[in-house]
């Protein structure tokens, strides 16, 4: 079977990639591993939840960065003791982790349940509004954050050296990738894809359509929360601006760069984004053509524009088209 050979090849390539990533700390500079690649894995993990919802559920969500942020804020509130802002519960870091993930997942379930009857563009806009509400909740309610956010967040001792954070990101990324892929073949995953393709028929077959959507949103929120924990450990602080409309759109853009129908594309998109963010201004050519570092957003915007003009399936779509393979699975980008 052609499909089988194709998959095996792809699997081997992915396994090889993971191996390279595992060995990377011995090969690359500290900055590349601890900054560029760690950020790539964190953003990729978060963007993968957007791709998961789009690919299997047909929902383009702008609320994933909110989930990412909630986990970060909740960890900060629970773990810190005597900080300038927040609840300062002073819990054990791992208890704080559990608390953060629990709250994030619950919020994701409630928001997912409210949004479960909307689809397509409406869903996109509703989740954007979620993001904005979340921003104002953390900006206005000083008991849990306030405009200054939560600073000097320490990571658990287990993750002390920065390279361990990288490995944590790698492990979670691999688990999320494999988990999402496997989920697509479970009864729930198949039903979810049925809901994506024809909700009316699925409803008449007796499936609870809103419940499936809400549960998928909950799962995506849970994973985004994990990424959000890595992020506050990596960044050491979080404030409402971290989840404002700008970064919210950036996370969607990352998913779009990689391709909304490819899970692996999320990490690819994150990699491209971080590379451009970090290294673009080092290119000797760049200021000659009038793009200084100050115009970074223009470059990112143009990249997305070009990618979307060439292929709605992002970079992975372009790569596949170049390889001349036609994808059997459509998905992701659909109304």
């Amino acid at each position: 079977m052609k499909l089988r050979e194709h998959l095996t090849g792809e699997t081997l390539a992915l396994a090889g990639l993971v191996l390279v990533l595992a060995l990377l700390p011995s090969l690359a500079t500290a900055f590349f591993v601890n900054f560029v690649m760690t950020q790539t894995l964190i953003l990729g993990l978060a963007a993968a939840t957007i791709v998961f919802l789009a690919k299997y559920g047909g929902m383009t969500s702008l609320a994933q960065l909110l989930m990412f942020g909630i986990a970060g804020f909740m960890f900060g509130n629970a773990a810190l003791d005597g900080g300038a802002r927040g609840l300062n519960l002073g819990w054990h870091p791992w208890a704080a982790v559990g608390f953060a993930i629990l709250v994030t997942t619950l919020v994701a379930f409630v928001l997912g349940a409210v949004a479960s009857r909307t689809t397509g563009i409406y869903f996109l806009m509703l989740t954007l509004v979620y993001g904005v509400v979340g921003y104002f909740v953390f900006a206005q309610i000083v008991e849990i954050s306030g405009p200054g956010g939560i600073t000097s967040i320490q990571r658990p001792e287990l993750l002390g050296p920065p390279v361990r954070l990288y490995y944590a990101g790698l492990l979670l990324s691999v688990l999320a990738y494999a988990g999402f892929r496997m989920l697509g073949r479970t009864a729930f995953g198949l039903a979810l894809q049925g809901v994506r393709d024809d909700p009316v028929r699925m409803a008449s077959l007796g499936f609870n359509v809103p419940l499936h959507r809400a549960l998928a949103f909950t799962l995506a929120g849970f994973v985004a929360g994990l990424a959000g924990l890595l992020n506050v450990w990596w960044n050491g602080q979080i404030d409402p601006a971290s989840i404002s409309i700008g970064p919210t759109l950036i996370l969607l853009i990352i998913a779009v760069i990689g391709g909304m129908s490819s899970l692996a594309g999320a990490w690819l998109g994150a990699f491209v984004y971080v590379l451009v963010l970090t290294y673009l201004r080092d290119l000797p050519l760049v200021d000659r053509i009038g793009i200084t570092e100050a115009r970074f957003n223009t470059v990112i915007g143009v990249i997305v524009l070009v990618i979307m003009v060439l292929s709605p399936e992002g970079l992975t779509g372009i790569v596949q088209r170049l390889r001349g393979t036609t994808r059997k699975e459509l998905g992701g980008i659909r109304p």
Partner: protein, 488 residues
């Protein structure tokens, strides 16, 4: 059905396991060889005395994105004047400089960080400067929340030396207390010091309503005014904090008392809100009579070019420099030096069009980064260019007293500036533009406001500080300024 899937998942899991094993092995005691385990391997090089590798943290995006050129130029001017630096371009500071050297120690500009007014981004930018480009001295950042994040970063990276740019939050020095973080200018609260003294004791205001942006800088700025005004015996009757991004201020303005119910109003609303909130006031409460209003630096006509003319007469807090009507020989010399260093600079005040560099140099953003540059030069001179002993270097910086064009600056025990604050009044010039006229200089203002703020108090907020009378060290010490001449 799931044959290939299962196999694939297995392979992935095995790889992940492998990754973990490799990782854990790498994390063991013998892992010192892993390059990625050494957090700041490059910055450690500073100890070997191979010079200063300087990174400047500006903002090229966000609300202060227009000031990127200004702040880089500020530091560059200091190094051009006192360390022999030559800018690479005569029309822009962003091209960098060469030839800077103090007491035999070269200063190399390794990079310019590009913030966007968020703490997240500035932490990433400073990590790029330090971890990738090997900076060992950072000048910056520009805004309040960024300052807290960078101070925290400095605290966890003791081999670094940070001289703050113009970031106005109190906590970065008062609470964080990083021993390698120095601020040679005042904070957002300090810039309003003396305003309450002036309004209560000279203008006879007993009651005032405060309206400020509901975020850190608005709180800090209002806190400085409240501490001062209440300290000398005034009463703050109302505090209104409209959220950032408010479009229609009318409902918030309606929560203020009417013009006949209080003696005056203090405004700390920035961005589009400065003018929009004043207009809402005119619409709902009554005509502006300038002498019933006072504002923080958001009333500075350079920043608020959209202000209507009816605000003339209002009092304005300080912002690092003094208004243009004060022209001492030191200030003249400083501005002339800026004009000699470049032909033109596309600073923010000229709409990012080329303009004489002195236009940017007379404003606070440029000047804050300038004072940091001067502090770096004088700190190096004090240790004879030898930075191998970082503690000695930091001690030397902490002990500096800088003789600067807009007044002397020294540091308190938290390494935050003790500065002179220039208070001014808005007036109309002959061509109908709103300008500032300096009315007083308040000398020697420090962060604590006579004890209102201390490392043990919370950050300024919606209800902190309370309105309490208190002994202020500078009460009654303000030096009046008449027609631009201090009457000392």
């Amino acid at each position: 059905m799931s044959g290939p899937k299962l196999r694939k998942a297995l392979v992935l899991l095995v790889s992940a396991g492998l990754a973990l094993v490799t990782g854990c092995a790498g994390d063991g005691d013998d892992s010192a060889g892993l390059p990625a385990d050494q957090q700041n391997s490059v910055a450690g090089g500073s100890g070997s005395g191979d010079g200063i590798r300087l990174g400047i943290l500006g903002q090229c995006e966000g609300p202060f994105g227009g000031f990127h050129e200004d702040v880089v130029a500020g530091t560059t001017l200091a190094l051009a004047r006192f360390a022999g630096a030559t800018p690479e371009s005569s029309t822009s500071a962003l091209e960098g400089f060469s030839g800077a050297e103090v007491a035999g120690t070269p200063i190399e500009l390794v990079g310019i960080g590009c913030g966007d007014d968020t703490a997240d981004r500035v932490v990433q930018e400073v990590r790029r400067l330090v971890e990738q480009l090997g900076a060992n001295v950072i000048i910056g950042p520009l805004s309040g929340d960024e300052g807290i994040a960078i101070a925290e970063y400095a605290k966890s990276n003791p081999e670094l030396t940070v001289l703050a740019g113009i970031s106005g939050s109190q906590e970065q020095t008062l609470q964080v207390q990083a021993p390698n973080y120095f601020r040679f200018y005042g904070d957002g609260a300090i810039w309003n010091a003396g305003l309450g003294d002036l309004l209560h004791n000279e203008e006879g205001w007993d009651t005032v309503a405060v309206i400020a942006d509901d975020y850190s800088f608005g709180h800090t700025s209002a806190a400085g005014f409240i501490a001062d005004f209440c300290g000398v015996g005034g009463k703050v009757t109302h505090r209104v904090f409209p959220p950032l991004g408010t479009t229609d201020y009318s409902s918030y303005i309606a929560a203020l008392p009417g013009p006949d119910e209080v003696d005056g109003y203090f405004w700390a609303v920035g961005g589009t809100g400065t003018q929009a909130a004043l207009e809402a006031f005119v619409n709902g409460q009554g005509d502006l009579s300038g002498d019933q209003h006072a504002g923080n630096l958001f009333f500075n006509p350079d920043l608020a070019q959209a202000l209507g003319t009816d605000i003339a007469g209002a009092y304005v807090g300080g912002f690092a420099t003094l208004p243009a009507d004060v022209r001492t020989p030191e200030i003249e010399e400083y501005l002339a030096a800026a004009d000699e260093t470049w032909e033109s600079i596309p600073g923010s005040l000229s709409g990012n069009e080329p303009a004489p560099p002195s236009v940017a140099a007379a404003f606070g953003f440029f000047y804050g980064y300038y004072t940091a540059g001067v502090a770096l030069v004088e700190g190096l001179e004090a240790v004879g260019g030898d930075v191998s002993d970082l503690d000695a270097f930091h001690e030397a910086i902490a002990g500096l007293t800088l003789d600067l064009p807009y007044g002397e600056i020294s540091l308190d025990e938290n390494r935050s500036g003790i500065v002179d604050v220039g208070l001014s009044r808005l007036a109309l010039d002959d061509s109908g533009n709103v300008v500032q006229e300096t009315v007083a200089i308040v000398p020697g203002v420090d962060q604590t406001f006579g004890g209102t703020f201390s490392p043990d108090t919370p950050s300024p907020g919606r209800d902190f500080p309370a309105c309490e009378e208190r002994e202020l060290p500078w009460e009654g010490n303000a030096i009046p300024v008449v027609d631009g001449v201090p009457q000392s």
